[in-house]
């Protein structure tokens, strides 16, 4: 026979499971609504361009700095290990494969989940609790199309651009790090870095960034659009957008790696 404490544990687990599946169902419904709305005119091109600017251009400095440091640190950290095996000449190839296949997309997506995802969650959450979304709805307009569709599209389209930018800056940082202890020309470094790259390294890593961007936009919008309980709810929406967005990025990455490994 179950004791009182065990019953409490079971009921708590049951509640957590129910909440989890309800959340999954609601996110699926929200995603379905996005795909339904995205193809129906009128299209909000002006707002899409504005949001793409906010997501893309406004994130460039942060992505650039982190990409640069990422390349620099990866090179400095890897050098002693490669030197032990006398394989220092492999450094540019190793760093480029690491950055382009995995570190660049994941780090950039995580930074965007923090910066862009939380921003979208907080902005839409604030609009929700101050009845601005309701005001759009009672004007006979479609707030979902104007606010949600444009933001999800913007993150989906801009994240690959940011990742390519971050990869380039990261490789430049790596080149500078290589030159701290050696003397390698810019042309030679990039020739070695690119020589070992194949389409299987580049194409899947770019494709998965579209999914990262979609996940960041979707979760930010979902959490913000459905936020409740005043200012506390806005904070929770921003926080949940980052936590769930980051988690989804790792899950998508795991799936992408499994699929990519089928072709290598």
């Amino acid at each position: 026979m179950l004791k009182v404490n065990e019953i409490k544990v079971f009921s708590t687990v049951e509640k957590v499971m129910i909440d989890f599946f309800l959340e999954v169902a609601n996110i699926s419904k929200f995603t379905g609504r996005f795909f339904k709305q995205v193809f129906i005119p009128p299209y909000e091109f002006a707002e899409l361009i504005k949001q793409s600017y906010m997501v893309g251009v406004k994130s460039l400095p942060l992505i650039g700095i982190t990409g640069f440091i990422m390349g620099l640190v990866l090179t400095i950290q890897s050098r002693p290990t490669l030197a032990q095996f006398g394989a220092e000449s492999w450094l540019p190839a190793m760093v480029s494969v690491s950055i382009i296949r995995e570190i660049g997309p994941v780090i950039t997506a995580l930074i965007c989940a923090g910066k862009v995802g939380s921003g979208i969650g907080a902005e839409l959450g604030s609009m929700k609790v101050t009845e601005q979304i309701d005001a759009m709805e009672v004007s006979g307009l479609n707030p979902f199309k104007y606010l949600v569709v444009t933001r999800i599209l913007a993150t989906t389209l801009m994240l690959p651009v940011l990742v390519v930018f971050s990869d380039c800056i990261g490789l430049f940082g790596s080149y500078l790090a290589v030159n701290i202890k050696g003397d390698v020309s810019f042309t030679l470094y990039f020739a070695q870095a690119i020589e070992k790259l194949t389409f299987v390294d580049i194409i899947p890593s770019i494709i998965k960034t579209f999914f990262f961007g979609f996940a960041i936009g979707l979760i930010g919008c979902y959490k913000g659009y459905n936020s409740k309980n005043g200012t506390e709810g806005v904070g929770s929406a921003a926080n949940a957008a980052v936590v769930m967005g980051s988690l989804l990025i790792f899950i998508i990455d795991l799936i992408a790696v499994q699929i990519t490994s089928l072709f290598t």
């Binding site: 009128p42 902005e123 604030s126 609009m127 009845e131 309701d134 004007s139 006979g140």
Partner: protein, 261 residues
């Protein structure tokens, strides 16, 4: 709690002035609950053409829920809400949006879009109208601002405005589509008595200028006295009393009178 003096809706028609009896909004036997909280048990109401109907009630009595049900922001559990003869619950999204353009809604907080200037806020409801040129759109924005006496703030951000100005801009945005019905959610809450009186007088001016019919949710008796043709008091999910300001103020029912003391 005093005895209810709930009047039959049809008995209440004709109270007030200058009305022709056309009903623009009709709520029949509305029921709405949030969990265990039964907000409306069996609520009925009718808004006539060019009428200003004030809704009074204690906090949490469901006044705001009522007008949100009327524009389809909240779904009713049971009952019928007919707006200009259309059952809100049965309309599809497209038809509902067409109907919503005929209804103005002034939110308690004015709900101005933070990221847009005053001019952009006012032009936003017009974006669905592709027939309007930029010049016509700008003219409508300026006209709406002029109607609320705030033509100079067109380039300001909502954060730069006072509470009274925000309410006026919210009202201007509501009026830009020239609605036939305006729903006001506590239009004078949080304002000083002078500004509150100005807003109340503006509500009357708007009725005269645009021939609107309005439902005004308020706690402000001074506002109710100025703007109302009829007053409805909601209590425990039903229409507890209905009549003109003077009728209810001099009601034989102590509980109803207590609202006006």
């Amino acid at each position: 709690m005093g005895a209810k003096i709930r009047a039959n809706i049809s008995d209440a028609k004709g109270i007030g002035s200058d009305r022709n009896g056309d009903i623009l909004i009709e709520v029949k036997h509305l029921k709405k609950s949030f969990g265990n909280n039964e907000v409306f048990k069996d609520f009925s109401l009718a808004l006539e053409k060019k009428e200003n109907l004030v809704v009074l009630g204690k906090s949490g009595s469901g006044k705001s829920v009522l007008i949100k049900c009327m524009v389809g922001l909240i779904d009713a559990d049971e009952g019928e809400i007919l707006v200009m003869g259309e059952d809100i619950e049965k309309l599809n999204e497209k038809a509902l949006n067409v109907l919503r353009k005929k209804i103005g809604f002034l939110f308690q907080s004015a709900a101005l879009y933070d990221s847009m200037t005053v001019g952009e806020n006012l032009a936003f409801p017009l974006r669905g109208n592709k027939e309007l040129s930029d010049e016509e759109r700008n003219a409508l924005v300026e006209e709406s601002l002029e109607n609320v006496g705030l033509k100079d703030v067109i380039d300001k951000m909502p954060s730069e405005l006072s509470g009274g100005m925000r309410k006026r801009i919210g009202l201007a945005r509501t009026l830009i589509l020239k609605p036939e019905i305006v729903l006001y959610d506590e239009p004078t809450t949080g304002l000083d008595p002078i500004t509150a009186k100005e807003i109340s007088e503006l509500i009357l001016e708007i009725r005269e200028k645009y021939q609107t019919s309005s439902i005004i949710i308020t706690h402000d008796l001074a506002c109710a006295k100025i703007v109302s043709d009829r007053i409805v008091i909601i209590h425990e999910g039903v229409c507890a009393a209905i009549g003109t300001y003077e009728t209810l103020q001099n009601s034989e029912d102590k509980w109803v009178r207590s609202f006006f003391e």
